[in-house]
């Protein structure tokens, strides 16, 4: 069948079986579609993600200098980053940053804030209940649901293990 070989348009056209044609066509399309360079994207993500985290660390140090309570400083840092992300989202700038920074803007808490703020802005027009209320978590919803669910599963495992004296 020549699975390792390149698939050409002629292989696709000659294939009579529909499922096999679909597979061949997908392979052929993959060859002819330009993609981002992963290396370049990783470097950009590292730089932008790093800058966001450095800014966070800056706030952390500042809040520590004010109250020298690490838990309080952590909470205020999170609040500040979330606020900045929502502000940039509202101004339409976070999307521009994300276009360049990719995962660097997605992974920090600013990405999570953006994924909640963006639907809120978009669906405001459909009302407070059916718009913002129903749709604010369309992107972040799965993260929240499965995040809480996996914490629960891990908690259960921890509980059982500690009952048997393993942990």
């Amino acid at each position: 069948m020549g699975n390792k070989k390149k698939v050409t348009a002629s292989d696709v056209i000659r294939e009579k079986d529909k499922a096999a044609r679909g597979q061949k066509y997908n392979k052929y399309v993959k060859q002819s579609t330009p993609t981002f360079s992963t290396g370049k994207n990783c470097v950009k993500a590292f730089i932008i993600g790093g800058i966001i985290c450095t800014i966070g660390q800056g706030f952390m140090n500042y809040y520590m200098s004010l109250a020298s309570d690490i838990e309080l400083a952590k909470s205020y840092t999170t609040l500040t980053l979330v606020f900045l992300s929502i502000l940039l989202t509202g101004l339409g700038l976070y999307q521009k940053l994300a276009k360049f920074g990719g995962a660097g803007t997605l992974v920090p808490i600013t990405g999570f804030a953006n994924s909640v703020a963006a639907p809120a802005v978009e669906y405001k027009k459909e009302g407070q209940v059916f718009g913002i209320g129903c749709k604010i978590f369309t992107i972040a919803g799965p993260v929240i649901l499965y995040g809480i669910f996996s914490s629960w599963v891990l908690g259960l495992i921890y509980y059982i293990l500690s009952k048997f004296g393993i942990m």
Binding site: G22, V29, T33, T89, N114, S115, V121, E122
Partner: protein, 351 residues
Amino acid sequence: MGTGNDNNKPKMAGKQSIIFQNPPFIIEASSIAGKKEGEGPLGSMFDLVHEDPMVGKNNWEEAESELMKQAVDKVLQKAGLQNSDIRYLFGGDLLGQLIATSFGIAQTGIATFGIYGACSTMGEAMTLGAIMVEGGYADKVIAVTSSHFAGAEKQFRFPLDYGNQRPYSATWTVTGSGAVIISDKDDADRGNDAKVVITGVTTGKLVDYGIKDPMNMGAAMAPAACETIRQNFTDMGVGPDHYDKIITGDLGYVGKNILIDLLRENGYDIANNHMDCGIEVFNKDEQDTHAGGSGCGCSAITFASFIMNQLRSRTLKRVLFVPTGALLSQVSYNEGNTIPCIAHAVIVEAM
């Protein structure tokens, strides 16, 4: 008479095509575009360019409805006609249950057929309009479609301000609306300009080559374009040279190459006379539109401006206009389905 007209020549051609015995005229066309489209290579040819993406309205859906309303008003104004002169309107858009068509056309009071063919809708509207006029069931009809970048993003992809990276294969939905008036006669004094007629159509089949990626619609739609163009050649007994240009709707750069490849394997070389509205409407390098423009408005505003101008000036004498549509929905996508596609070909000639 067997054909319903004065002559006995058959109108049906091959398996999926029609040859019109009394080709209906496209007497006028209008194009309303958004800011980004206005800054593109075709910018100066549009009748109206809106700087405000909301077009003075409160939301994207109202904005697109307004674009469509303005396209209809403009085409009537250019033709010197009233709403009451139009027998039927064929319209469609991408928004759920044809929001833009329903709300945009409501005040015109024209009898309306709402149609959905995703981005192929302009081809479908012109096909049905031409059949209606040539069959003697209407003297004047309007074919109109629209799309809006933000409305389409919201419905098919992500909220506008959500931070993500568009792949290179992704297209940019055109904000705009294009309309044409199809008439049984063209009395206007056009000076040196050509009269433009629709001489035939080839209606596409649903084609599905198993693509699931909604960010690569050019690749999903290319086989549908290939099938319709090949069928047109077979039904009409012609080859690529029969047309000055074969113009697809919104295959973009990825889909264009695939289409040329696939047709070459079918024995037809269209590399020299192929053009794609999605490629023409934006400047890829300066406007960061990746694979090109897309949407119902893409082929509509390109046809109503650039292509009509070239036909009027006889720069192009005969074109095969083939808007292409990817018939995906968020539901079918979430359920893991592939993207069925369709393409409708309309033969347009300068007389």
